[in-house]
C-alpha cells in the first residue's frame, strides 16, 4: 500500500520532467493593467522562441519592488517610477530603465443605466474628493454616487490621481477600494450608482464609458492627446536590456507586437 502510494507520487512528480527547457526564462511582475499585454506577449514569445515567460499581476508598486529586489527581470508598470523608488533602486545598485510599450486611456466608467453621458475633469475630481455625492449634482438622477477607487499599489490609481485630481488632493474616505481593473469593472457593472476608472483594455459592454471634457476615449483622441486622462504603459528593466529580455522588450516595436496591443484594446505607439 505504502509503496504504491510512493510510486504514484513519484510518477506524478516526474511526469513532466522533460516538459520544458530548464531555466533561462523571463520573469515579469507588476501592473494588472499591463497584464493582458504581458500575458499575450509571453504566449507569443514562448511559441516563437521557446523561452518560458512567467507573468504575475500584483500591481505596479509590487512590480517596482520586485525589480529593485532583483526578483523579476521586467517590471510592468502603468505609471512612471516614483523618485523614491528610483532612489531605493540606486541604493541596491539597480538602474531602472523605462520602455514605453503602449498608450492607454483611463476610461471613466459608470453603470449602463446611468443617463450621465459626460463629465468635466473638475466634476470628476469633485466626485472623488467627496464634494459631489449625488448624481443630481452633475445633472443626473437623484441617486447616491458610489465612488470606486484602486488600491495604493496601483499604477492606474497613481495616474488617475495625477491626471484628474491634481497633486496632493485626497480622495474621499468614503471611496470603496478594489484591487484590480477586473474587480472595478465587476463592481461598477453591478452597482447602478457607481463610478470607477479602468484601463482601456478592460472596458466591455457591461459598463458605460463617459466622456471627459466632452471627449470620449478613442484611439485617435488618445493618440493626439485630446483625451485628458491617458498615460503610457511601461516595462522597466534593470539597465539596458540584453539577450532574451531585450528581444522581449523589442517585441512592442514590431508589427506583430503592435497588432497584439491593438487587438487587446490598447493603443500601440
Amino acid at each position: 500500500m505504502m509503496k504504491r502510494i510512493l510510486l504514484l507520487l513519484s510518477v506524478l512528480l516526474f511526469a513532466s520532467v522533460d516538459a520544458v527547457a530548464v531555466g533561462g526564462g523571463i520573469v515579469i511582475d507588476g501592473s494588472t493593467t499591463v497584464g493582458p499585454i504581458a500575458k499575450s506577449f509571453a504566449a507569443y514569445f514562448k511559441n516563437r522562441y521557446a523561452v518560458p515567460v512567467t507573468v504575475s499581476e500584483s500591481g505596479s508598486g509590487n512590480g517596482a519592488k520586485g525589480l529593485i529586489n532583483g526578483t523579476c527581470d521586467i517590471a510592468s508598470m502603468s505609471r512612471a517610477m516614483k523618485g523614491r523608488e528610483i532612489a531605493a533602486a540606486a541604493t541596491k545598485g539597480v538602474n531602472p530603465v523605462a520602455h514605453t510599450i503602449a498608450l492607454d486611456g483611463i476610461a471613466i466608467v459608470v453603470h449602463p443605466s446611468n443617463p450621465v453621458a459626460g463629465l468635466t475633469r473638475a466634476q470628476i475630481a469633485s466626485i472623488y474628493e467627496g464634494r459631489i455625492t449625488s448624481w443630481k449634482g452633475v445633472g443626473g438622477p437623484n441617486a447616491r454616487i458610489v465612488v470606486i477607487q484602486r488600491e495604493s499599489n496601483s499604477g492606474t490609481q497613481g495616474s488617475f490621481g495625477e491626471l484628474v485630481m491634481g497633486k496632493g488632493v485626497q480622495i474621499t474616505r468614503n471611496a470603496e477600494t478594489q484591487a484590480s481593473n477586473g474587480a472595478v469593472k465587476n463592481r461598477v457593472s453591478s452597482t447602478p450608482g457607481a463610478i470607477g476608472f479602468l484601463g482601456m483594455g478592460f472596458v466591455d459592454r457591461s459598463v458605460k464609458v463617459i466622456g471627459v471634457n466632452g471627449v470620449r476615449p478613442s484611439l485617435s483622441a488618445i493618440r493626439n492627446g485630446s483625451y485628458p486622462v491617458s498615460r503610457p504603459l511601461y516595462m522597466y528593466t534593470n539597465g539596458q536590456p540584453t539577450g532574451v529580455v531585450k528581444q522581449f522588450i523589442d517585441l512592442a516595436g514590431t508589427v506583430e507586437g503592435k497588432r497584439i496591443v491593438g487587438e487587446l484594446g490598447f493603443i500601440a505607439q
Partner: protein
C-alpha cells in the same frame, strides 16, 4: 428531576443535534452543488465545430476527416451568411454618403458580433491573439452571441433624472429593405448548422496546457503547480514536525522554556496566512535568497512554516495517545529510549501522525495568501521537476482568484474558473479521503 422531564430534555437534545446535522448537510449541499454543476461543465459540455478545430490545430487531437467534413458543412451554411455581409458592404458603397455613414455605424456591431460567433470573417487579417482566431467553442456561448446579433441592448436615457431601463431592439428593423435584412432570420435558423454542436467530453481540461491566458485549453500547469507546492511543503514540514513532536512529548522537561515553546507553537497556528506569505517574501526570497525570483521552493518553504504547527500538534496528540504500557514494556525488555521511540511509539502513533499530515497537505494545496508573493504567477507553463528551485508556477488557488477578479475576459471564461474550483475541491477531498483510508488500513495492521 422526574423521569418525564428527563425524557423530554433527552429527546429535545437529540432533536437539536439531528437538526444541526441536517442544517450542516444542507449548507454543504448549497456550497457544493453549484461548484460541481458548473465545474463539470468545463469538461462535459456541448462543443461547437470551433472547439474541435481548435483542439485539432493547437493540440493535434481529433480525427481530421470528421472535422474536415463537419467544417465543410458548417462552411457551406456560413458562406451564405458571409455573402449577405459582403453583399451589404457592396450595397453601402453605392449609397449616399450620409446614408452610408449611418448604416456603417449600425453595421459595425453586427460585423463584430458575427466575427465573435464564427471567428475571423473572410477577408479579415488573421488575428495575432489565439482568442480571436476561433469563433465560439461552446454552444451556450454561441447562443449568447446569437442574441447579440439579433438584438441590440439599449438604454432609455430620455429622462436624465432617473436611472435608465434597458430594452432590446431587434437589429433587423434597422436594416429593413437592405441586403442585410435576411441575415438575421438566416443566422437564427441555421445557428446549429453553422456551429455543428455536439456533446463533448473534454478530458484534456485536466491535462492540457492553457492557451492565451486560459481562454482555451486546460489547467494542467495549475494542477501540477498545486501538487508541487503541497508536496514540497510536506517534505519540509512533515519530518520537522514529527521530530518536534517527539521532542515535546519524550525529551522536553516540563518547565518555563517548554511551556513558552508550546504556546509559541499554538500562536503560530493562529497566525493569518497572509502574514506567512509576506514573511516568506521578506525572509526566503529577499534575505535568504533561496531563489532569484518567486519559486516553488520559496513557496513550499512558506507553506511548510504555515502547516508546521498543525503537524506538530497532531503528532503530539498521536504520540500521547499511545498507551504508556507499550513504552514501559519496551523499556522493561531492555530497549534504549531512542529505540523505543523509533520501533514502538512512532509506529503505534503513525495513523494519527499521518492523518494530521495529510489534512495539512490539503490545507497547503488550498491556501492562496502564502504563495501570492512567494510562488504563484498568473501565466506560466508547467515546469519540470528540475525547475522547482528557480521557477515560479501557476497554482489552482491563486489562479482561481486571478480569473475571478483580474482577468480581462473573466466573464467569458467562468467555466474555466469553476473547473479549477472543482479540481481544487476534489484534490483536497481526495487527500482527506485517502487520510481516512490510510489511517484505517494502518490501525488494522497494527491490531492484526
Amino acid at each position: 428531576m422526574n423521569l418525564g422531564t428527563r425524557k423530554i430534555l433527552d429527546n429535545s437534545f437529540t432533536a437539536v443535534g439531528m437538526g444541526s446535522i441536517v442544517v450542516m448537510a444542507l449548507a454543504l449541499l448549497v456550497v457544493l452543488t453549484p461548484i460541481v454543476y458548473n465545474g463539470v461543465g468545463a469538461v462535459f459540455f456541448t462543443g461547437t465545430i470551433e472547439h474541435r478545430t481548435m483542439l485539432y490545430k493547437e493540440y493535434g487531437r481529433g480525427d481530421s476527416k470528421t472535422i474536415e467534413a463537419q467544417s465543410a458543412t458548417a462552411d457551406r451554411y456560413r458562406g451564405e451568411a458571409y455573402r449577405m455581409l459582403s453583399g451589404f458592404e457592396a450595397e453601402m458603397e453605392g449609397m449616399t454618403p450620409e446614408a452610408s455613414r449611418e448604416y456603417r455605424s449600425k453595421y459595425a456591431p453586427v460585423r463584430a458580433a458575427m466575427s465573435s460567433l464564427l471567428g475571423p470573417l473572410p477577408g479579415d487579417p488573421q488575428p495575432m491573439l489565439t482568442r480571436f482566431q476561433y469563433g465560439q467553442t461552446r454552444w451556450e456561448k454561441a447562443e449568447e452571441k446569437l442574441h447579440d446579433i439579433l438584438y441590440e441592448k439599449k438604454w432609455d436615457y430620455s429622462d436624465p433624472t432617473v436611472m435608465a431601463k434597458e430594452f432590446y431592439v431587434p437589429r433587423a428593423e434597422a436594416f429593413a429593405g437592405t441586403k442585410l435584412a435576411p441575415l438575421f432570420g438566416y443566422v437564427d435558423k441555421h445557428l446549429a448548422d453553422m456551429m455543428q454542436p455536439q456533446f463533448t467530453f473534454y478530458w484534456g481540461f485536466f491535462t492540457d496546457r492553457s492557451l492565451d491566458a486560459h481562454i482555451f485549453g486546460g489547467i494542467w500547469p495549475e494542477i501540477q503547480g498545486t501538487f508541487f507546492l503541497a508536496i514540497g511543503a510536506m517534505l519540509f514540514a512533515f519530518p520537522l514536525g514529527v521530530i518536534a513532536a517527539v521532542y515535546f512529548t519524550e525529551y522536553a522537561k516540563e518547565g518555563f522554556f517548554t511551556s513558552i515553546l508550546r504556546s509559541a507553537n499554538s500562536t503560530l497556528a493562529g497566525v493569518p496566512s497572509i502574514v506567512f506569505g509576506l514573511f516568506g517574501l521578506a525572509f526566503f526570497i529577499n534575505t535568504m535568497k533561496v531563489s532569484e525570483s518567486k519559486s516553488v521552493l520559496a513557496g513550499s518553504l512558506t507553506l511548510a512554516i504555515m502547516i508546521l504547527p498543525t503537524i506538530i500538534r497532531a503528532a503530539e496528540e498521536a504520540i500521547l495517545s499511545v498507551p504508556k504500557t507499550y513504552k514501559e514494556a519496551s523499556l522493561g525488555l531492555g530497549s534504549t529510549k531512542w529505540n523505543t521511540i523509533a520501533t514502538v511509539i512512532l509506529p503505534a502513533a503513525l495513523p494519527g501522525i499521518i492523518t494530521g499530515g495529510i489534512i495539512s497537505l490539503g490545507r497547503a494545496a488550498g491556501e492562496t495568501a502564502p504563495i501570492i508573493f512567494t510562488a504563484a504567477v498568473s501565466v506560466g507553463s508547467a515546469i519540470g521537476i528540475a525547475d522547482v528551485f528557480s521557477s515560479p508556477t501557476p497554482a489552482l488557488s491563486w489562479n482561481i482568484y486571478n480569473l475571478a477578479s483580474e482577468h480581462e475576459m473573466a466573464s467569458e471564461i467562468r467555466h474555466v474558473q469553476y473547473g479549477m474550483v472543482l479540481s481544487l475541491v476534489s484534490i483536497v477531498l481526495l487527500l482527506n479521503l485517502s487520510a481516512i483510508l490510510l489511517r484505517a488500513k494502518i490501525s488494522q495492521k497494527l491490531k492484526g
